[in-house]
Amino acid sequence: SVNSEPTLDNEEIARYSRQLILPELGISGQVKLKNSRVLIIGCGGLGCPAAIYLAAAGIGCIGLVDFDEVELSNLHRQIELRLHGYCIKACVSNLFIRLNSRASCIPYHLALTSENAYQLIEKYDIVLDATDNVATRYLLNDACILTGKPLVSGSALRFEGQLTVYNHNGGPCYRCLYPKPPPPETVTNCSDGGVVGVVPGIIGGLQALEAIKLACGLPPSFSQSLLLFDAFSTFRTIKLRPKQRNCVICGESPSITKLIDYEQFCGAKATDKDAGLNVL
């Protein structure tokens, strides 16, 4: 019934007044944000700012998955969640109480695996890939296809960043673009390659923005489209292929119908010790 739809109380109207007066959002958009559930995989340089801006925008429920240990060298990227101390679980809770007392924030201090990914993702509307390794990116892609969720994928390394939305409105999935995993020796993580922390910060902010638009039913900018950022140059938008008919997970006759062993598929561990921000 109409009465079962949550609306906004006076405190929420005051808190979100600058969003409410935007005609593209309005009260109905804000209510949609409040009713949305967003799952973020990885709380590093991408996931932290994304989580903060999603909470600040009024997303009703945010799940945060991370199994990372704190390292000193992560500090310059994982800046926000460190403000309250060094325990991610505690930080996230405190942070959300301050930003959005009505939001529920669910920290999952666990490794995302083929065994738990489906059940976890099924509970959410939108998924953000903020991970740092190839195996988890394929796992997340397949789990989002099987559960029918859009996947907002961000990545960053050195002075560059990339962003795209998979599995939305006829657009491709990660496997449509990359049917075969890269040779393990060609994959560089942020520990080995380095990164300037504000680059994933910018990409994480853009991931939050895409999720906000998806949650409101507004069109995302980067479905079937790839945003490239180079800190020494500028942004570039690339037109991508549509969903591929022969894709093994999202195509017409998918051969993958349940989650597989992604470490074996990629020939690389998701738990690579050198990857400071991996999530498994």
Binding site: P181, V187, N189, G193
Partner: protein, 99 residues
């Protein structure tokens, strides 16, 4: 007559071509037409400093490298069979996985 191309390597692919992101090249017009397949051979012979297998595998770019022609995914244009045009801007971008 010759074919002028702007090649760009990014996302780490530039590390395979002397760490230079932008390469303005000129291909001689021969009796055959230049396709992306032919360009890959030319890159292998002229630009790849060492370990070409980190860029080319099985006659195409290795998994994890996306090829863009004038800001569009090469899959929309015929991939290896795409016939190069004068002043085309070809980008080879290595997918990033860091976060």
């Amino acid at each position: 007559m010759s074919l002028n191309l702007k090649l760009e390597f990014s996302g780490g692919a530039e590390l395979l071509v002397n760490k230079v992101k932008n390469h303005d090249i000129t291909l001689p017009i021969s009796s055959k037409l230049w396709t992306l397949r032919g360009l890959l051979d030319w890159i292998k012979d002229n630009l790849l400093a060492e370990r070409p297998e980190l860029f080319i595998q099985g006659g195409s770019v290795r998994p994890g490298i996306l090829v863009l022609v004038n800001d569009a995914d090469w899959e929309l244009l015929g991939e290896l069979e795409y016939e190069l045009q004068d002043n085309d801007h070809i980008v080879f971008i290595s997918t990033l996985h860091g976060g």
